[in-house]
Amino acid sequence: DQVLRVVAGDGAQLALLQALGDREELQVDFWHGPTKPGHPTDLRVPFRNLQAVKSFLEANDVAYSVMIEDVQELVNEEKRTMTLSRRLERSTDTFDFASYHTIEEIYDWMEALAAEHPDLVTRLQIGQSYEKRPLFVLKFSTGGSGRAAVWLDTGIHAREWITQATGVWTANKIAKEYGKDPTVTAILDNMDIFFEIVANPDGFAYTQSTNRMWRKTRSLNTGSSCIGVDPNRNWDAGFGGPGSSSDPCSETYHGPRAHSEREVSAVADFILRHGGVKALVSLHSYSQMLMYPYGYKAEPAPDRQELDALAAEAVRDLAAVHGTRYTYGSIIDTIYQAAGTTVDWAYERGVRYSYTLELRDTGRYGFLLPAGQIVPTAQETWPALLDIMRHALEHPY
């Protein structure tokens, strides 16, 4: 197929061009239709009709030139560059941290990060979601064996998009700062970091395809038309108590039993098997809070004083970045009573430095935080995370 450029000399020639277009059997496709004499008309002509069209133009003294010799070649070239740029997207240097991404984009990016930092980062699969999506964890390790570890997760509640986005930025930051930032280097020289960025992939996919406000998993509940369990009420800590719901239709439904959700049991089993997790931070949004156990009961945690002091420090360092104000305290004092949470479970399994953060904002945009706030949010959360990790490093137990 070729694209011809024709300039009609006068009204009569213009009429001829329009007539040419009317002849269906020639299948002439105007890219730039005949408008006025003196103005170019561009027409794509299928290969088999080229001879006929060119003869027609020549016979009528209509001047033309060949603008595109081979349309197919151009199409192929374009396809090549598109595939190439999509591959480049997966390279971490061109990844746009200031926008929200799909699961596929995040998973591809994780693979690229591991490929770019083979001595530091590996992408592990720790299980499968209800709908059989892989549950991936990035392992940051400089080697050693039996090292203490930090567990980080984002995206356990699907609609809290700022968390997955912050997770990606933060994982990138960890990889980039090793060997440069002394704190990151000290941490990674002695401990491993496990980072699950999309802790609830089924829910996340659902927020992108169907309901932006979906929170829970997507598991089917026997005897109910309502779907999903709140993965942050499904842990075996005060399970089923006040601060969770036994109604499958509720957003805080705890599930039929503790760890019934694959997304939860995969993480719980991983942490228990590892045996050396010393700090755990689970990211949520929104409310701007930094909290420690307990959520399920009012009784203060045995390490409350230390946890509170560390929280105060982290919140101060967070505020220093962009002025964002966080409140802090135990979950039950700061936000509300919540039973069966990740953080309470981890704490009761011996992970002393167990924290949960509620990121920006405080309700103006809520879950629909504009992408422009992703990087500032991640930037300010960073020193708070470092404070917690560094404290775990400096206070081994």
């Binding site: 932006r212 038309s225 239709c249 957003e251 879950f367 629909l368 935080l369 706030q373």
Partner: protein, 197 residues
């Protein structure tokens, strides 16, 4: 307050919703009497924002909406990515004010709300100067984490108190079944009920 209920003493600052500039401060008491809703409220505020400036901004808002030649119709404000088209900002702002009335009425000692999203906005052109909008808004309920769908009708003219009518779906079972569907169908059901409201 033994035998009566719980009384809260509040001191808080206010800020302009759009510019985030400080707008003043307030002192309030809120008394939740056992079994009584809504609570008894006393409040006194100091406004630092200039009355004339407020009027000017209201008028600018009003003009922006009045300038439209066709009735404004829009969905998902903000969109999934948190974007609000500049032209739709006044529409969103009116929904925020209207929703605050719903939240004022629904809030209890244990339940609080934020406006999560405007699912749909539809303007009704009126013969008089008033601006009228029908909204479907999602209210985020804490601590239940539920998204409550409410139908909101707002009638407004600068210098006049805003008239707000609302109807919220209270059954989370119902909402759950329609959460994946077009807001059009939900609004259809709510429209009917509105006539009797």
């Amino acid at each position: 307050v033994p035998g009566v209920g719980h009384k809260y003493y509040l001191q808080f600052t206010t800020e302009d919703y759009r510019s985030r500039d400080s707008a003043g401060s307030c002192l309030a008491t809120v008394l939740f009497e056992q079994g009584n809703s809504p609570p008894a409220v006393t409040i006194s505020c100091v406004d630092t924002k200039d009355e004339k400036q407020i009027q000017e901004e209201d008028n600018k808002f009003y003009q922006k909406i009045k300038q439209q030649t066709k009735p404004i119709m829009a969905n998902d404000i903000p969109d999934s990515y948190g974007n609000i088209e500049p032209a739709l900002e006044p529409v969103w702002a009116l929904a925020v004010v209207g929703s605050s009335k719903i939240m004022w009425e629904k809030s209890t000692e244990n339940l609080s709300y934020s406006m999560a999203q405007v699912k749909s906005a539809k303007q009704w052109i009126r013969q008089d100067d008033f601006v009228e909008f029908d909204y479907t808004v999602l209210l985020h309920e804490i601590p239940t984490q539920e998204m409550i769908s409410c139908h909101l009708r707002v009638i407004w003219l600068p210098g006049h108190p805003m008239k707000v009518k609302h109807f919220c779906a209270s059954e989370n079972q119902w909402f759950e079944e329609t959460s994946g569907m077009e807001s059009g169908s939900a609004a259809g059901i709510l429209q009917e009920k509105e006539q009797n409201f």
